[in-house]
Amino acid sequence: MRTHRLLISGLACFACFLLFACSRPPSPLAELPEAPLPEDAEIAPFPPGQHGAIFVTTMPGDINTLNPLISEDAASGAAISRFLEGLTTLDPETGEIIPRLAKSWEISPDGLQFTFHLRRGVVWSDGHPFTADDVVFTWRDAFYAKQTDPSTGHPVVDPETGRARLRFPSRPAFFQMIEGQEVQVEALDSHTVRFTLPQVYAPFLLFGGGQDILPKHILERHIADGTLLDAWSINTAIHRPRELVGLGAFLLESYRPGERVVFRRNPNYWRRDSEGQRLPYIERIVTRIVGDANASNVAFAQGLTDAEGLQADNVTWISRAAETQDFTIHDLGPSNSTSFVWFNLNAGISPEGRPFIPPHKLAWFSDQRFRQAVSYAVNRQGIVDGVFAGRASPLHGYVSPKNRNWHNPDVRRYPFDLARARALLAEAGFAMRGARLHDAQGNPVEFALMTNNNNNLRTEMATVFAESMAALGIRVELQFIDFNTIIRRTSESFNYEACLLGLGGGAPDPYASKDILMSDGRLHFWNPAQPRPATEWEARIDDLMRLIGRELDPEKRRAAFFEVQEIMAEQQPLIFLVTSNEYVGLRNRWQNVKPTPLGGVLWNLDALWARPN
């Protein structure tokens, strides 16, 4: 008996030792060398704080990559922006473009040359100086890297476009091409970079300047031997996080897939406070990965996390815990997120030789009056009141009212009006037979509407939409399916009739919507990637969007984008429903909190501080 006990306690000790050994890998983060404050250090406009606090958050879903060359999803993008930065950024208070790693810039009178002056004395997190070479490397060697034929060593030429194929053919790389052409980048001296554009590109300062800069001294050899995607990958993040060198306020400390991401403060960050203390104040950011947005919201309500974006319908019950858990919910007003229904207008034929949608249905969907009638029949205020518990606003156009600079308030609106909807349908040749609506050929009007099943607000909006259609005598079959299937059906197989989805984000510049609005765009939901515009109004939108890309005068750009919104409202290819309000909860212990509608609550994360916990 005694020997047994001894053995057990011995085993327990050994297990403890093992656990201990596992949880503490031989310190991968020995202290990093700390360089002196850069001479061009930016002074943060906030009262000085105190170092050392830990910031805890959750995120629904895992990251896919930490490589900005191939990052396409929001979660990865958010993680990347913690440790990498660009030359310019958007001021979260005024919406203007302000300096980041570039302290100033000049634009040539013809609008083709941008000369950026970089901050002097800035170093990478490992202490290596940041120079113009890093910028040139990021653009010319990383984004514009060409595929080479392994046998000849020459670049591979795409037979369709006649241009060399990119080695990383991802959305970020294409995004930095202007009408398919590259931007010329050259270093004038160690801290001056000049970008020469092939043609005028209005949002270059924002999109080009905002591009995250990569470390040349780390990645150069991997570009040369073709191992870049292995050298800066999820595996690097798991096993050698220290190799992910950055210029951002934080550095990756550890990453466990499906569990958590930990960032620590960058001791060499280039911003300081008015007392000369280096930012950021936060010592570590611990982000736990959880199943879905609801679980994330619950964790915040239980006081487990410091900050959380709250779903509109969860605000009421979470706010009840505000006192006991000591947090404040910031109401940021209407968000940039939109929700809409669209009909499949793709007249194409599937590989099996059948049309994507039956011709008689395509005829309904293509009829502007049908879409307008549907729009009149949607009770937007009812959705706001019922589904969102009043925490949303009706949405009438492509741009959310939040985006004040670009929102056109005077587009055609479709107030809830069943009489007008019926009149429009009658005009388009539809007629009631009994309780059901029939078209001129006698086909009963019915269609299937799909939306993703893991978003309860969307499924509820879909049931409300179906009931609104029932009032017109249209039968709607609801399909709640998983998100990836929806994406496949809307962008590859086109095997669907109608779909309800939403867009988040909301770009600060209208040209970011070109993939959605232009008829050849991959995200042109109702009929993507058209070889040439199928309708006149789509051709007009294409022209206007091209103008917005070329034009430098803000007034002309706005006028063009206002017209785009008017056409969208008149044609209703996307039938907009509502935009949810935005709510962010933050624990009260955090100081220097200054929420703005544009930047949210965490835009000045590097200046937030709390007493160490």
Partner: protein
Amino acid sequence: MKSLFREVLRRRLGQISLFTLLALYLTALFAGFLATQPVNQQNLDATYHPPTRITWHDGGLAVRAYRLVDRSGPHYEVVPDQYHRVRLFAPGFDYKLLGLVPLKRHLLQAESPEARLYLLGSDSTGRCVFSRLVYGSRVSLTIGLIGITITLFLGLIVGGLSGYFGGKIDFFAMRGVEFLMAVPSLYLLLALRSVLAPRFSSDQMFIVIVIILSLIGWAGAARVLRGMSLSLRRRQFVLAAESMGQSPLRILRLHILPNLASYLLVAATLSIPGYILGEAALSFLGLGIAEPASSWGLMLSQAQNIKIFMLNFWWLLTPGAAIFVTVIAFNLLGDVLRDVVDPRMKTQ
């Protein structure tokens, strides 16, 4: 058969379970009459409305008036001293009694259109939970009956024949049964459901689910029935019938089937809850009955949102209670039936 019924009714548990089930099935049969609102009628001004209290006021039935105090909750309050008259057997929306007779009369209808008659509150789009529960009972209660019919029919044919004939037929039939039992049913169900989904509308889906559930479920019953018919086969009255030259079909029908009947009855009652729970689980996973149709599992899956627990919208969980009551009633009835037909296996 008549004496069996009398025996069941002689027992307290038998009475309770039988009358509960009778009430439930009558509810399903007269759903249109009992429902106070059309199954899909939404009211976006009355989402998550609490159950309205019915009181006796001014010489008649009445509901209290409610007022929306806080839309963001949403939170409702009773308006003091304000009532809306409710009438029994009053005209309301159109429906078809038993699917045939067009009618307008309902058990309970509010007189004024402003009155909110939500016997069990309303859901996220302001639909009456009570009416949905009543209509949903049609799906949830018939699914078991249809399912068990298919299961026992297949089980009886395969099990009975292989037990009676034995030999090669028995061998191959039982290997087939084992093959079916080895199929991981949940995954098969999920796969079949996603393959078939685009081809069926919501109401056809209901039938498809029953068929899938019972096509997977008959193997167990076939095994037991095969064992029973195997042992009956050796009994003297079967051997006697055989030696008199009766045809196998006649023997099966006249001598073996009556001896299996008691088992079939018990097995059926005890396995119906499995189908009800199966439908609930599938709908809960979003693979079963789809909107705008209604079933108890679907209603439960719509109540799994965290805010429903946090804001105490308990009435959205009533489909769970309905499933609970139905399953318990079937199990009790099954127990009582077994006691009656097989006194040696008494549970008490």
